[in-house]
């Protein structure tokens, strides 16, 4: 039942993955909201060894002006990896992958934002991957949603995200870099959990229709878990802020 690839056993006979997780377990997730001072909203996410900063600036004026839309906000997103985030140093120049990911992440977040509330303005989302260990676009979406909410931008829902992989025929949640490289499938997924709307869905690998249905349901369940963590992070931040305001009144 195990698969060996370059001396690696990705999943053991009793269903344990390299890091000991079961197929339907996601990595330990830490989320901290409001971590960057200058940004209107921000978040830091650690999902296993994947570490990501997200910052939101906006709503603010659109520069260049001709890109502004008269009846809604323009959402811009930049997904970028630091040169030291990967094993072989990556040039800081945007790669085709980063350009594609910036687009899919933007399209994963936009459905949640009430864009009509801010005509002729821009909401800019910046994502920096500090350390990449698989599922970076999902962790980015987790961080960016929290950053958007912490910026006070009105949202229909938060967006939670989780990837699904396939190792030796077994569907697994939240793939690491090794599981992505040597596994059979990578399916990044994001949804608005309260509205049951999928806002990101990609597949790179071969799956039958029943497997896709199962993968979607596994990912949706994980997203509900992640959603609770996102809400807690925002609540924690609100409590922090309230304390500093109250202390300010006392002095």
């Amino acid at each position: 039942m195990s698969i060996k690839s370059k001396e690696l056993t990705l999943i053991s006979p009793d269903g344990r993955r390299l890091d000991g997780r079961r197929p339907d377990e996601i990595r330990e997730l830490k989320i901290k909201a409001g971590i960057l001072e200058n940004a209107d909203g921000s978040a830091y996410v650690e999902q296993g060894n994947t570490k990501i900063y997200a910052a939101v600036y906006g709503p603010r004026e659109v520069h260049p002006r001709h890109l502004a839309l008269p009846n809604r906000a323009v959402i811009r997103c930049r997904y970028h990896m630091t040169p030291f985030s990967v094993e072989e140093r990556k040039s800081p120049a945007p790669t085709r992958r980063e350009i594609e990911l910036s687009k899919v992440i933007r399209e994963a977040l936009t459905p949640a934002i009430i864009v009509e509330q801010f005509p002729s303005s821009a909401i800019d989302v910046f994502i920096e991957v500090i350390n990449a260990d698989g599922s970076t676009r999902c962790a980015s979406i987790i961080a960016a949603s929290v950053a958007l909410a912490s910026a006070g931008i009105p949202m229909k829902d938060l967006v939670a995200a989780c990837s699904v992989g396939k190792i030796n025929g077994v569907l697994v949640l939240d793939v690491t870099d090794v599981e992505d490289k040597y596994g059979e499938v990578d399916m990044p997924f994001a949804m608005m959990p309260n509205r049951n709307e999928i806002t990101l869905l990609q597949l790179d690998g071969i799956l039958g229709p029943e497997e896709i249905e199962k993968a979607i349901s596994m990912a949706a369940k994980a997203c509900k878990e992640i959603y609770e963590k996102q809400k807690s992070a925002l609540k924690e931040r609100y409590i922090e802020l309230r304390k500093t305001v109250e202390e300010g009144f006392r002095t």
């Binding site: 910036s102 806002t199 869905l201 896709i212």
Partner: protein, 256 residues
């Protein structure tokens, strides 16, 4: 929307009807392979060029495949000159994933001298007229160009030097034929092969690439979401359409 509720689209099509498909192969003499595809009024052309190159370090016995797409001003008043934008990059990468995961070209057979010399297959897609669904037209053009490409033979002499014999041609080693189908969600309706007007009002798109009844690539696009039910329904309809398109490809190309 009222029209859609009665199962018809502005151009008269049913919700699950493709536009008329026309595939013309091998019109570009200087390219090893080429195909022009018309999907209604949308026109895309793909060219295949081969050259000898060095393999990637982690796959010394495999050939190299590169897919590039250009959305140039010739195709639409909305396209600007310059390097590929996010839409062109996304299209190229989605088509690349479909071809690569389906293993359409058997890259192992493109190895000439392991670790030193392999065939590089360059697939360049140019949009010529954008009337919606450049994705499917481009994917079809790429597939048809690859199927009908005639590439030179490479020979290695006793000194290990590689020479190309341009007068002796052979087909690329093909393992499968992936077919890409895009669905658009307009309100609560799903339509196949959106034209330009439909693309402009659509909430979301689901592109899926099929090989042997399984899915090897998916890309959701658009600024709105889809429910899981809509996603599964879209995949189901797309799968049937992929069958139809595969038949058309086989008729035009002859076998494979």
């Amino acid at each position: 929307m009222d029209l859609l509720s009665s199962g018809r689209r502005v151009d008269g099509r049913g919700l699950e009807d493709l536009r008329p498909v026309e595939i013309r192969c091998r019109s570009v003499k200087n390219a090893e392979g080429s195909a022009e595809v018309r999907l209604g009024k949308t026109l895309a052309i793909a060219g295949v060029k081969t050259s000898i190159g060095t393999p990637f370090a982690d796959t010394p016995d495999m050939g190299v495949m590169i897919v590039n797409a250009e959305f140039l001003p010739i195709a639409s008043p909305t396209f600007e000159p310059g390097p590929p934008d996010e839409n062109a990059i996304e299209l190229a990468r989605v088509i690349d994933r479909g071809l690569r995961r389906a293993e359409m070209i058997d890259l192992k057979q493109l190895c000439i001298v392991p670790g030193k010399a392999v065939w590089e297959v360059w697939i360049d897609i140019h949009a010529l007229n954008h009337d919606g669904n450049l994705m499917d037209a481009s994917a079809l053009a790429a597939v048809a160009a690859i199927l009908t490409a005639e590439v030179p033979k490479a020979m290695v002499n006793e000194k290990g030097e590689v020479t190309i014999n341009k007068s002796e041609r052979q087909r690329l080693p093909i393992k499968s034929i992936p077919i890409t189908v895009t669905m658009a969600k307009i309100g609560d309706k799903l339509v196949v092969d959106p034209n330009l007007d439909e693309e402009e009002v659509a909430d979301a798109f689901l592109t899926a690439t099929f090989v042997d009844d399984k899915v090897c690539a998916i890309q959701k696009r658009g600024e709105r979401g889809l429910t899981a039910e809509e996603t599964m329904k879209a995949l189901q309809i797309a799968r049937q359409k992929a069958h139809e398109l595969l038949k058309t490809v086989r008729e035009v190309v002859g076998g494979g």
